[in-house]
Every structure is written in C-alpha cells, then in structure tokens.
Amino acid sequence: MALERLFRRNRPTRKEDDNSPAGLWLKCDACNAQIYRKDLIANLHVCPECGHHYSMPVDARLDMLADVGTFERWSGSIRPVDPLEFEDTQPYTERIEKAEQRQGRPDAIVTGACEVGGLEVGIIVMDFFFLGGSMGSVVGEEIARAAERSADEGRSFVAITASGGARMQEGALSLMQMAKTTVALERLARARLPYVSVLSHPTTGGVTASFATLGDVILAEPGALISFAGPRVIQQTIKQDLPEGFQRAEFLLHKGMVDDVVQRKDLKARLVTVLSALSGAGARAPKEKVSAAAV
C-alpha cells in the first residue's frame, strides 16, 4: 500500500540499513533491479537502473560537492547533554552513545568550509543516520555557528538537509533551535551573502519549518519527502489515503515551494551557477544592512 512503499523507499545504502545479508548486492526499492553495491555507490547512491535517489552518507556528500582537498571541518567540538534527563524505553544518553559509535561523530551534523567550483563556501550536512537527523541543541548550535562564521568570513552558505525534525528528547529546548538557526541566518542576509538550501530525503518537521526553507534559493533532490507534518500524522488526521507523490519534491515544485528539483549528478554544477550569480553583492558590501523586504 502506498504509504508503506513511501517509507520503504529512499532507504540508505549502509550495510546495517539494507536487507542484503552479505551486502554485496541489493535489490532496488524502486525498480527491484539487483544492483551491485559498488555500482550504486559509484553512482552517487542513485540507482543505475531507474535513477532512484537513495539517502547519501555525509562523507560521500562532501566528496561529491567540495573541490578535492578543500574541506575543512568546523563541527565536532560540542557534544549533546541530557538537560531533561529524558528516558523513554531507554535513556536518551544511551541513544546518543550508540549513535555516536555507529556514526563516528558527536551529533547529527557536520559543518565546515570548502570550495565549490572555486567559490568559498560554508557548508552544513545533516546525518539522517544519527537519530534520524533530529535537531537538538548541538545540531542547532553547530548550524548557527556555521552560519555566523560563514558571514564573518564572507562565505556563501549551503545546507544539505535530512531530518526527522526536532529532537523531542530535549523537549522545548529542541523547539528553540528553530528560532536559533533562523536568527543566525540573519548574519548572512545582512552581509548579502547567498544561502542555498538543498532538501534531501527526508526533510520534515522543525527543520523544514525553520532554516531549511529559508534559502534564497531552495533546491530539492528527486523523490525527496519534504514536509511539516509526516504523512502518517496527516493520514491519521484526515482519515484518508494521501495522493500519490504528495509531499514529494516534484509535488512541491509544482506547488511553488522549491526553485527546482535537481538530479544529484547535476547538483554541484547548479550550486556553482546559482552561488556565483548571487555572490557579487556580498563581496562588494559584506557589512551593510539590508532592508527586510530584500532579505
């Protein structure tokens, strides 16, 4: 049934996340073709048969976008705490530990500086495999710091989003990250530096409802689920099936919410075109105040 497919799709390609025991081969969720994992990875985690876009690991994303050898990591110095001493079926602290071990980073984000087609860029990449890419205080703080540092250094800003939304284990503090990331973007706006957000599968909840949709230009990956409320919630609310393609990138393009849907193989080139087109003013007038209308 539609909804299930909707969730079986776009699964990541990391061993523990797919159904092929050996993990050498996997069956494409979209076209059922047998794919050799190496080919999938070589093809930017896009099915060579049907072009279905799978979630992309952070490192692969950075390799794909940053000019060779230019990426310099900013994030990683702060670690999540457990302000609410939150415990459901297991303590929040344990969830974080496991995720950190599995993903090799303190939280669901990597930020840093790099060149993209020779353009100086500040970039953030969310890690959906770290507690669903949920945004807590650390993720919010890393994003805010990256935006502010990019503004200070006169860099364009790029965000690659993938998130289930706010991290509820941090309660209202996670909600506040929506405001924190939003106000931090103000620094870029005042410096007239372009911010391009790239919405990858899935981008939902508090992340979609804050910095992710505030890009001067918003690009989306094919088939990406992009929403405020998740399809399950909506279905429970309205008690009916959702239209095919609802909340998908192509649907949102039609609804006027994103500037374009871009194939992964074309993403870097498009970023270079857009960023270079918009980065004239920033260089010229980094410090000047911009009228709200123009921001």
Partner: protein, 309 residues
C-alpha cells in the same frame, strides 16, 4: 464538568452549599461549621493545584472554560478592532488579529483562537492554523513596524494543522517565514502562552522580546500523546511522556524557554477567568512599559540574543 482531579473539590463545594441551604431553611446559625469547611476547601484546592502532576497541568491547560485569546482581547484590551485576511490564501479563524488598546497603549494583537464550545471549536479548527493564519500574522507584523506599534501575541494551539491543504500551501515554509519575520520586528513584542503552546505552530508567534506563560499553561515540542505514540509506541503513555517532556510553566522557566510566569487564581484560570484576565492585564502592562524605552537596535539585538543563546 470537572477535571478528574477536581472531583473532591467539587464534592466539598457541594456540601458547603448544601449546608448553607439547610442553615437558611432551619434558620440556625452554622457559620462556624461553614467557615471550617471553607478553610478546608481552600486547603484542598491549594494542595491539589500546587501538586498537580505534569499530565494534570496539561489537562488544566486544555480545560473547557479556560479563557481563550478572544476572551483576553475583548476583556483585558479596549477598542479591539479585528482585521481579517492574509491577502493571499484566505482568512484563518484559528488566528485572530487586529488592533487594540491596553490601558491606553495602542498595540497590534495576534491570538490563536480555540473554540469556547464544540461548534466554535469546529469553526476555529480547534485552534490549529493553516498557512493563511501565519500569513495574516506576518501582515500584522508589517503593520506594526510601519506604524510603530508594539505587538502582543497570545499562544494557544495544539499545533499548526497537519492536513492536505496546509502542506500544499507550505505550512513549513510559512512557519519558518513567520519566525524570521517576527525576529525582525522593529517594535517591542511580547508573547504569552495562555493555554497550549504546541510546537512550531506556537513558536511562529513566539519570537518575542519577552515570552510569558500562564501558571497552568504548557509549551512543548510535541504533544504528550504524539510523543508517547512515537517513543513508547502507545499514545496511552501520554502521562509518562508529559513527565518526561518537562512542559510546565515551572519547567520552562528553569529551562530558560520562558521569562516569566503569570500566576493563575487558585483552582486555575477556568475556575475564575475574570481574576485570571485581570492578572494577565496587570503583568502585560508592566512588560510593555518595560520595553517602551528601547531603541529599534536594542530591541533587535535583545531578541537576537534571547533566541541565539
């Protein structure tokens, strides 16, 4: 209809009433007994309401008869003149906006409106806004900036509406835009959580210089029911979730999410709305007066710092 934990209070009140009637009929003086019972009632009330569990607070925050945004706008304020429409998608009955005076001070008001009965609840969509509601709020922010009027936002929503049209019209986009637009206000802004502060749909009008909350109101990233459904895989565990989420006024003050708690009358705002609204008015007046002197720059920086930290 009382909340579950209000039953003992209601029973005792009934007894006192009964005794009064009896004394009147029999024309005997039972004032002493009645006084004793009255003081017992007060103790019972304070014991109950000072020791409410977080889940019970959630129930009070949602209690029928609790003052809604319009109750404040038409009672605590004067000359309330409602302005309709977002000039794009429609006019959202779950978001009430307009012009009003508070103690002679002209302000722009924005309030999330739940129904005061089932019929109104349906027409108000239970206080859950569509994108047009947030667009209307942004229109009011523009008006407030242009005419240099302070903004007062009353937060009371289970959350932004999760529906087909809402998603099609970019619910996430307007919430983000509303947060951004409010953070850019060049005038003083005060937000008050008067009932339910439901997630991003509440925060959208909560990026104020001062964020207040009523004693029995809640503010949370997710409803206890949804949280329980996700983390405990059982929405029946809402009580546990409410405890874990630490979503009461007291919790939020400790977390630094809110700046001040507005006390409610003993027994909750729903048991004595006139008194609750009066206290609200007094506190809001103080808060607006305190912000009045600040320059545009100071207001922007204070708001930036408050939400950046």
């Amino acid at each position: 209809m009382p909340l579950p934990f209000e039953k003992p209070i209601e029973d005792l009140e009934a007894r006192i009433e009964d005794m009064r009637r009896y004394a009147a009929e029999q024309q005997v003086d039972m004032s002493e007994e009645i006084a004793l019972l009255q003081s017992r009632l007060d103790r019972l009330k304070s014991d109950t309401f000072e020791n409410l569990t977080r889940w019970q607070r959630v129930q009070v925050a949602r209690a029928p008869g609790r003052p809604t945004a319009l109750d404040y706008l038409t009672t605590a304020f004067n000359d309330f003149s409602e302005l309709h429409g977002d000039r794009a998608l429609g006019d959202d009955p779950a978001m009430v906006t307009g012009l009003a005076k508070l103690d002679g001070r002209q302000v722009v008001v924005i309030g999330q409106q739940k129904g005061r009965d089932t019929k109104e609840n349906i027409s108000r969509n239970f206080g859950m806004s569509h994108p047009s509601g947030y667009r209307k709020a942004m229109r009011m922010f523009d008006l407030a900036d242009k005419f240099r009027l302070p903004v007062v936002c009353l937060i009371d929503t289970p959350g932004a509406y999760p529906g087909l049209a809402a998603e099609e019209q970019g619910q996430a986009w307007v919430i983000a835009a509303c947060i951004q637009r409010m953070s850019r206000l060049e005038v003083p802004a005060v937000s008050v959580v008067i009932g339910e502060g439901g997630s991003g749909g509440a925060l959208a009008i909560g990026v104020a210089n001062r964020v207040l909350i009523l004693e029995n109101a809640i503010y949370s990233v997710i409803s206890p029911e949804s949280c329980a459904a996700i983390l405990w895989r059982d929405s029946g565990e809402a009580e546990k979730a409410a405890e874990a989420l630490k979503l009461t006024a007291k919790d939020l003050l400790e977390q630094g999410v809110v700046d001040r708690v507005i006390p409610e009358p003993l027994g909750g705002a729903h048991s004595a709305s006139a008194e609750a609204i009066a206290t609200f008015e007094r506190v809001l007046r103080e808060e607006l007066a305190a912000l009045e002197g600040l320059s545009v720059k100071a207001l922007l920086e204070q708001r930036y710092d408050r939400f950046r930290s």
